[in-house]
Symmetry: C2
Subunit: 199 residues, 2 copies
Amino acid sequence: MSTDAGSYGDPETRSRILAVTWDLVADQGSSLKLSEVAERAGVSRQAVYLHFGDRNNLLLALVNHMDETLDLGASLAHVQAAPTGAELLERAMQLNTDFWTAVCPVAQVLEAAQHDDEALGAAWRDRMGLRQAAFSMMIQRIADLQELAAEWSIEEASALLYAVAHFDTWRELTHQLRWTDDHYVEAMTLLLRRALLVA
Amino acid sequence: MSTDAGSYGDPETRSRILAVTWDLVADQGSSLKLSEVAERAGVSRQAVYLHFGDRNNLLLALVNHMDETLDLGASLAHVQAAPTGAELLERAMQLNTDFWTAVCPVAQVLEAAQHDDEALGAAWRDRMGLRQAAFSMMIQRIADLQELAAEWSIEEASALLYAVAHFDTWRELTHQLRWTDDHYVEAMTLLLRRALLVA
DNA sequence: CCCGGCGATTTACACTGTGTAAAGCACGCT
DNA sequence: AGCGTGCTTTACACAGTGTAAATCGCCGGG
């Protein structure tokens, strides 16, 4: 599963490089320079190549690093444990905004790189597949609670929930239109509640 | 308004270069090379620089070129002329999928470039501002028809409609999950109808 | 204590793509 | 004829990626 092909060198150095890369990606997007990464991490440029092979591989490692540090399991369980459909949707949207807030800079770059680099694109789509699965389970739970509106099949509702909760929508609302996280959660919850749940 | 700073040379050549650029962006994303653009357009690499100044300016010209050829006015009028809210939403989603289909390759690149290049980002956000305005007018129309659900203010409904109809959502559904355009229109219309309109 | 090996550094170089500069060529125009 | 415009050719400077090889420091085992 995990292709840690280049498990080389001091792991401390490795994660220091990753951390710096994260920061640089955050405020420079995909135009980060490996020389700058190296400098800020206090290592030589070659050390970066020794650890990660090349540029895309570094970004790939960043993606893997991402969900190691994130640990969504607990949060997802909390969402699933919601007593009602409405409550579940609200918790889902809360988790969603937390997730995108944490991942935003990387997401920006990765969505772009999807087309350029095969491996990177695959890694990203893989993560998104997990998201899809998570949302699918939520819809399943709502159906079990007898709260899914009759017009929706589980597949359609899952897909829509996943798609509507995706990055662009979140970013346009919270960044472009300056909505607060709470506002996003509130409005999206209302939208989804009306759209998906029985009246 | 329009910064056609480099209106230089034979307009035919210019639009041939733009056309080729469009194609190359379509299947290479942002990693297109100016040398390849030139070659395919049957001109020298320098001709491209003479016409457009630099790489980002070429992409910028591509954005401007985009909505010249698109001409959304008529389609928007057709949406606005819908007799009912439900019909309006359906027409809006139909237009939306047409729009993203046409613009998809460029959208991919532009969303990415937003962070890298100031001018490009501004140009893209400008276009998105127009979209916002268009959706806002639709919600206004729905409100005029007395069909907007009481829970929504015009601002909130507009913003949500705009955000939910954005690129990622469309792409995930139609490209990743392989929905047909019709399926997208149908499902999104139902979602929005339930979410926004009076029961 | 010396030796090996590993992590990392330094230096150097090849390659690609961007962007600039200048001279030259072809064609049409008055 | 002379001139300008649109483009070509050639050349070069520069930045960033990726590779290769020699070297250094350090730590652990014989």
